[in-house]
Amino acid sequence: MSLSLRIEHLSIRAGLTLLVRDISLTLTAGTPLTLLGESGSGKSLVMHAIMGSLPDGLQAHGQIWLQLPGQPAQELLRLPAAQRQALWGRTLALLPQEPWLALDPTMTVRQQVQEVHQQVRGLSAAQARQQALDNLQNVALHDAVVSQPPVAERYPFQLSGGMCQRVAIAMADAAGGQVLLADEPTKGLDEALRDSVAQQLLREAAGQRLLLTITHDLQLAQQLGGVIGVMRGGELLEVTQAQQLLQQPRHDYSRRLLQADPGRWPVRQPSWTDTGGQLLEGRGLSKYMGGRCLFSGLHLRLQPGQITAITGPSGCGKTTLGNILLGLLPADQGQVIRTSGLTSLQLQKLYQDPPSAFAPHLTLAQGFNDLQRRHGFSDKELAVLLERLGLHPSLLQRLPAAISGGELQRMALARALLLKPRLLLADEATSRLDPVSQQQVMLLLGDLCAEQGLALLLVSHDQALVARMADQVVSLEAHGVTA
């Protein structure tokens, strides 16, 4: 029997609540399987059920059959915890989300790969070391030019996000796990890095290995090919060949999902016309960080109702520029001039990671109450706004961590809109959201600009999105700036 993993009627419950409903899937070698869905669709739970690492209080029902070559198939859910954990690394390899947090900060990457050979596979130190260097070489982590310290001897904090993800892959290689489970492997990475990680994953799956990827990133799913499953609300809506799904999705949600890809958005009718009005102007802005020039002599004008995008690769200073324009950071040179009557309260911001923009111990209702007490809007106003943003009032009773990222970002939008802002900075505000939520939020923003003359400052690395949304684009590069 060849290598395969078969999920049959998998359900996951938390007490009486059914979180994942009756899922059946089969993974075979050579065909990567990608589960696509928004956060909270239950796709991660499926992966943790396979791994055997569900959080306490969640129970999996159904069957997961693991077939290893030359061995009788085993049903994972029935194995005792110790035996399941024995499969970790050796058979089941998990690529973590945000690997820069998942690597041990106190060990060099070589040591962390080496210990897999040494501790898990029982090799001698010298052999393990050599193999670890090979593994790192295989994921293209080696020094193109001689660097100090060499890449292999660096600590995680000295590596970029993409490099960390490749280290994690090298570790999976080292253990030789035949089932590779990748959990949102491109979360927080920009396009270029995403592509390189996708390439690496494909290389891994090319051999005798199973690859299951969890993502909301359509581009990644497309690059991986194979089979795609679409999940929503704990249900598996459809499982189809990648090509077929991308061209002819059967399920309504799948269609929406595909259409939500910025590349497929309908072309937006520009609502803004240059009226000569001016909200904010940046003159000759320069900023240096760590001795490096992010940008210099930058001129920029924002007008009411205008959508301005700041774009460029990660680390180029997009967010810094946005913050300078909002007055959150000082510029090293130049000045930001606000139109008269523009108060700080009328400048608002949406953050990349919605949960971090809310105090974790306050329910949303408490937050809105405090805001109401401070600024005195009516209950009606809030209710109308929430409805407009598609948020059920019952969500207010929850803590920020207990609602989805898309919902939370809309809550953040609601919070900002209550102050009647004239300029809104959306700092990668949708980069962590699934495409449907992203589209929802972006369309809302676009409508608001058109209706209320809100100026939007969009910081994004997503060229497609920028192309669909922006009236004006500021493109930052590693050195200097092109406007």
Binding site: A14, P55, S356, D370, L395, A402, E407, L419
Partner: protein
Amino acid sequence: MNSTVVTSPTTDIHAALAQAARPQPSRWAQRLGWGLLLVVSGFALLGPWLISADPDRQDLLNALAPFGGHDWLGTDPYGRSMLARLAHGAQLSFLLALLTTLMAVVPGVLLGIVAAWRGGWLEKALVALADMIMALPGLLLVLLVIAFAPGHFIPLCLGLALALWVEFFRISRARSAVILQQPYIEATRMLGFGPGYILRRLLLPALAPTLLTLASFAMSTAIIGISTLSAISVGVRPPTAELGSMIVELLPYYAEAPALVLLPSLLIFLLVLALQLISGGRKS
């Protein structure tokens, strides 16, 4: 654009996971903590009212009476009722400990937050000050403050607080620095809230569990500190009943009446245990 209003399983999954991820201090431990606190503080608050015996009334011929007699917990070497002395001692000690801890926590936490908030030279200066004070033996500080007004309670608390505030300063500075970098602080400011709101609504609640744990230890440190000072005769003056000085007073009789020495310690233990159980015993 017309999006559907849903409360889908989507949000249920978030709620369920949030529930699972949050470490819940066990319910029974917290209840036990509150129960203990009620008993101990009840004894300290109401005891002196309910127990008619005079804690200072001596009867030298009835010294070191055993448990269970007229005075329930026996008598001390002067023939004074242990029960009455424990109740009065608990009242005074807990009050002093509370006062000391407040005197340490309030400036410690506020300065810690100010340092983290303002940064720059102010933070450097405050950190240097805290380092200096840590490098000075706490006992010296306490002795110096007390020497100005021997036998009075406020300098005693002040002296102890002078040595204790540094820990609160360090912890609140370190933790505030992390919290203040969170985007939600910036977001709150942009929403028009002032420093007062951020302090009251965001910072203090986030610091509270850690501070409560530290403070409960600080309370026991304060009471033990007073006893150490009593041991070198600079603590509380006789015949005042105070748990720390009672330990010192009773120590010579440890061979004849070992329980007497341990009773005041037991009260301190129960108080700290109760506070720790309530705070969930989580430091980090």
